[in-house]
Symmetry: D3
Subunit: 240 residues, 6 copies
C-alpha cells in the first residue's frame, strides 16, 4: 500500500490531444490509474430534446480488459453491469452541472472515459480528465455556438475520492487503500468550491458526523489542487 | 405540491405479514408511495462465497407498470435500466451494513421491493420497509442460526430523502417536490445515528457547505422518527 | 389440499380503486391467490393499427418474486418465459372478445396482472379481475369515446379452471390440486354463456368425451357465479 | 380459398428418412403446408431430471424465412416470439402424453419441426409428422432401452385443426380459411380416441355449446383418418 | 473418408421451384450436403440506401438442428455465432459482385440458405445454389425492372472449397476431409473466371507459394464445372 | 489520400510495456492507426480442452468510440457485430498458427486489441502488434512452462493489407485508400514466408490472376519489413 501522507494526492500527468479523431482527447494519469477521455460533438440531440434549441452531454465509462490483473472480462453480453452504469451516469451529471446547455444549441457532446490502467479512483480521474477534454471539444465548435465569444461553461469541475483507511481519513485512495477502506466517498466539486455530488458509502460499515466532516475537509483541499493542475494543463485554453 | 411543513414526514402506514408465501412481507406506505417488501431465505450463497460459513443479503427493486401515470413500461427487454440498478444496489448495501453476515450461516436473504404506487421517495421507503421484512424473515429462521439466542443484527436502519426546494431545505420529497428540487439527497442511517450512505446530487445545479449542513440536520430528525415507527410496527419483534 | 366440495369456488374478495395512479385498479383475491389488476389508457395504438380509428387492448402478466415459496426468480434476462407469454396472450384475447374495438377510438388499453400471492388459478383470476379493472378504466374515458352514452362492451367475461383430480372432475383448482391433476382445463366464458377460450391439457395423460363433458358443466356453473360476484363488485358501474 | 368439402382433409404426402443425420426424419406435406420433422436422441437429460432413470422429450418449432410470402423474418434477436413458444410447448406436451418416459432410460429426444412451406395448420402437421419421426428415432435406440422388446409408446398421436368459417364447422383449415375463421380450434388426440389437448379460441368472437360439439365431431373423424395415414407410412414399423 | 479422386467434384443434384412461397427456391445437393436456397424480393431498401434508386442484396445462412449428428443447437439466444455471421456476409458479398444494383430499382433481394444436411462445403454450396435462386427471383420481377429486356446480372457466380489433405491438394472437401485438412480454402469465382473472394486459412498450420498455386488451379477447374451444372439447371433461364 | 509510393509501408512506432497490469502490453502505431495490444495469461483453459495438457490462445478486438470521426458507437447491446467477430477470430487463428499449444501447459492467453485511433489496417496492425505482446506474455511465464528453456513459438507472424487502388496494386492501405479500393486483401504470413491467411475480397468487383499475383508480391515484401521491425522492437527478447 502507498506510503504517501494521508492528505496528499498521487502524482498526476496530463496529455492533451492524445489521439486525433476526437476534438477533445486527454490521457489522464493519476498514480497507477490511466484514463483516456475523448470528447466528441454531434449536431443532434436525443429524441426527447428535439426542437428545444438546447444541447445535451452524455458520458460512457469502460475498463479495458487489460487494465486490471487478472484480466477483466469485456462487457459485451448485452448487460452493462451496475457499477459501470452508476459511474457513467455520475460522469454525465457532473459535466452537465457546469455546462450551460442552452448555449450549446442542438448539439450532443459524448465523453468517453476508457480506463487503460486501473489502480483505484478511476471514476474521479474520469471526471477530472473529462473536464479538460470537454473544454477542447467545446473550443472546436466555439465559432458555431449561439454566443461564440465565450464557452458555455459556468464553472470548472473535478472529483476526488476520500475514505477511512485503518481508522484514518485518507485522500485519493489507490486500489489497495480502497479495498481496505471502511468508508469510501467520492466528491465532485466545482472550481468555485460548490458541491455537485457526494457519494459516501460504508462498506458493511458505518461512519459518524465527525468522520464525515474530516473527509469533506480533505476532499476540498484535494479538489483545489486538481483545479490548479487542470488550469496548468489547459494553459491559455482555461475558460475563466 | 404538498403543503406539509418542510421538516415533517408524510403519514406512514405499515402492514406486516401482508402476503403469505414469504416469511417477511411488509406493505409500507408513505403518503402516495406504496412498496411491497418481501424477504425470502434460501439455504445457499452465491458461488464466490461458498464454504466460508457466511451469509449474504441481496435486494431487487421494481416499479409495477401501474405504479405511475402514465403507465411505466415493464423492464423485460434484458436491460435493467441504470436507475433500477443503482437503487437495488443501494438497498442491498444498506441492509448488509447492519447484519452480521457471519452469524447467518450459509444463507441468502433476498429482499424484493416492488413499488405498487410511486409518489417520490420509493428507494428510501424500500429501505425503511425492507428492514422490517428482514427482521421477520430472520425470525423465521432464528432457531437454525449459529447463535439462536439473538438475531444477527447490529443496529436498525432507515432512509429518507431531503432536498433544496424553492431554496428551502425540505424533508421527505414527494414526486412534485423531487421534480422541482435543485438538490436531491438520500440519507441512510442506523437507529444509533451513524451514516451508512449519503448520496447527494445537484440536478444540473450545485450546493454549498451550509446547505449540506441544513439537509443533514433535517435528515437526522426524520430518521429518528422513522426508527420509532419501525419500532412500533415490530412491537415485541423489535430486536434490540 | 383443500376440502372444499369439488363443485365449489374458493372464497373471493375484490377491492376496486386499490391504487391511485391507474384508472382501473383491482385487488382480486381467490383463496390463496391474489392478483393486482391495473388498467391504463393511452391515446395511441400500435403502428400497424394507426389511422383505422379503432382501439386495441393488450395485457401483461407477471408473478412477483415473493408470490411463491420458494421465491420465484424475476424475469429480467431478456427472455420472457413461455408460460408467461401464453398467459398474457390469453388474457389479452379474452378481453378483446368482449370489447367493441371500433368504439374505443384510437386508444390502447393495457391491463397489467401482477400476482402478489400464487396458489393456483392465477391466469383465470387475472381475467376475472381484469374485466372489473377494464370497466373502471373505460368509465374514466367514457366521455371522450365516439359514443359517450355507453361503454364499448358487448358482454362481461370471466374465467375458471377445472380438472380431473383423483379421478374426479373438480372446479377451481388450488396449487396442490393443480399439481395432482391428470387433466387441467381453463375456460373463458362470457356472462351470456358463450365460450371464448377452451384450453384443456392432459398432463402426460389423456381424457375421454364424458370427462370433457363433466368438466365443461362444472366450469359453466362456476362462471355463472363469478358473473354475479363481478356484478356485485361493480354495483352501479355494471355496464349492462 | 379451397373448395374442398368442409369435412375433408387436404391431401397428405409423407417421406420417411428424408435426411440422413437424424435417426427420425420425416417430410410431412398437407396441401400447401410442408414440415420437416427430425428427431434426435441424446444420452442425457435436463439437470432437473438427472438420476431418476427417466427420459425426456422436447420439441422445437420454426418457420423458415422462405416458407411464407412475404418472407418471414428469422427469429434470431434473442426473443422467441409468443406464437412459436406456444406451439413448441404444445408439440412437446403432445408427444410426452403417449411416451412412457420411464422406459426411455436417461435419454432426451428432441423433435425439430421446421416449416418449409406454410399454408395453415403448421402446428397440427408438426405433431402428426413428429409422431412418425419419433417412432423412427425410438427404433434407432430400441436395443439399448430398458425393455428392448417393445417401443416405449402407449398410443399413437395426431392433430388437426377445425373452425367455424362463414358460419360452417370446417375441418383442416388452410391459411385463407384460418384467416377468415371466427373460431379456431386445434385438437390433439390419440389413435385410441382420447383427448390430449383442446385449444379453442374465438378470434374476437365467441362460440356456443352446439358449435363446440360440431367441431369436436369433425375433428374426431379427421384424426381417425390421420391415424390410418400414419399407419401406412410406417408400415411394419407401426408399433402397435 | 471419400475415395473420390482429389480433383473431382462430388455428385450434384439441383431442384428448382422446390417450394412455392418464394419466387426463387432451389434445393441444392452436393454429396451429403443439402441446402435449401430461397430468394425473396421486397419493394424497399435499408434506410441508408433510400432515395438512391438502387437495390440491395443480402443473405442469411442457417443450419437446421437436424442437419448434423449430433444435433446442432438452434441459434436463438440473441447471439448469432461468429461462423454464421462470416458465412452470410460472404454469401451476400458474392452475390452483390455480379448484380448490377443500379438496375434493380429500390428493391431488396434476400437469399436464405438453410442447410438441411451438412457434410462439408455448406457455404460454397450455398453460393452456387443461391445464384440459381437469384436468377429465378430476378425473373419474377423482370418486367418491373428499369430495363425489362435483360436481367441485371454482369456474370454468373459459383464457389468451391479446396484444401491440403494428407499433404495433397484436394477439391471439394467433405466433412471428414475438412476436419483432416491442414489448409482450408474457399474460392468464389465468376463464370468468366475472375476472383470474387479468396479465403485461405492454415488451421494451426501454414502453406507455401506452390501449395497456394496448386489449390488455385484445382479451384478454377471445379468452378468451370459448376458453371456448366448451373447452366444446365437453368436451361433457357440462363441469363447470358 | 496518402502520397506514399504504392509499395511503401506507413511509418511504424512500437512501445512495449505500455501499461502495467498485463504482462504483454504493446502500443502499435502505423501511420494514423494506433492499437493497444495487451496479452494476459490465465491458468485454465476452456471447458472443452480440460485435461489435455494443452493451452489455448484467444483474441478480442474492439474499436474505442473516440477512435473514429464521427464517434463510433460502443458495442454493448449484446450483439457483437459481424466485422468485429470476423476480425477477432482472424487474430486468434493467426496467433495459434505459430504457437506450440502443447508446450503451453493448461494455460489460456488472451490478447486484447483495442484500437485507439483508426485510419485503415486496424486488423493487420492488431496481428503484428499482438505478436510482440504475445512474446512478452510468454516470457512472463516461461519458467513455469513444460520446457522452460525455450518459448513455445514455431515462427514469428505479421500481417499487412494490400489492394487495387485506382487500378494499381498498393501496399498498406489507409482509410481513404481502403474506401477507394476495388479489391481489398489481408495477408498473414510467418517470418519464414509461409502463408497463414489470405483474405481477398472484391468489393462489388472482381480481380484477375495477374492482379492476385501482383498483390501477393507486394504483401510479401511488406511482411519481410514488418518482421525486421518486430525484431528490433523485441531486441534480445526476439525468440529465434
Amino acid at each position: 500500500m502507498s506510503n504517501r501522507p494521508a492528505h496528499q494526492l498521487r502524482p498526476i500527468k496530463i496529455k492533451r490531444h492524445y489521439t486525433r479523431p476526437s476534438p477533445g482527447s486527454v490521457l489522464y494519469q493519476s498514480g497507477g490509474t490511466t484514463v483516456l477521455c475523448t470528447a466528441s460533438v454531434a449536431k443532434d440531440v436525443p429524441p426527447w430534446m428535439k426542437g428545444q434549441g438546447r444541447g445535451w452531454i452524455t458520458a460512457e465509462y469502460n475498463m479495458l480488459p487489460g487494465s486490471t490483473s487478472p484480466r477483466k472480462q469485456r462487457e459485451r453480453g448485452g448487460k452493462v453491469d451496475g457499477r459501470t452504469t452508476e459511474i457513467q451516469r455520475l460522469i454525465g451529471r457532473s459535466l452537465r452541472a457546469i455546462v450551460d446547455l442552452d448555449q450549446l444549441g442542438e448539439r450532443s457532446l459524448t465523453v468517453d472515459c476508457d480506463v487503460l490502467e486501473a489502480d483505484g479512483g478511476t471514476r474521479t480521474a474520469s471526471i477530472t480528465g473529462a473536464f479538460i477534454a470537454l473544454v477542447d471539444a467545446l473550443r472546436s465548435v466555439q465559432k458555431e455556438l449561439p454566443d461564440p465569444k465565450r464557452l458555455p461553461l459556468t464553472d470548472s469541475i473535478a472529483a476526488i475520492s476520500v475514505g477511512i483507511v485503518n481508522g484514518q481519513p485518507t485522500l485519493d485512495l489507490d486500489y489497495a487503500q480502497d479495498f481496505a477502506a471502511a468508508v469510501d466517498m467520492n466528491i465532485v466539486m466545482t472550481g468555485n468550491g460548490r458541491f455537485v455530488e457526494i457519494q459516501g458509502t460504508g462498506e458493511e460499515a458505518t461512519f459518524s458526523d465527525s468522520q464525515l466532516a474530516a473527509m469533506l475537509k480533505l476532499a476540498k483541499s484535494g479538489i483545489a489542487q486538481l483545479k490548479e493542475i487542470q488550469h496548468q494543463a489547459l494553459g491559455k485554453a482555461w475558460p475563466f
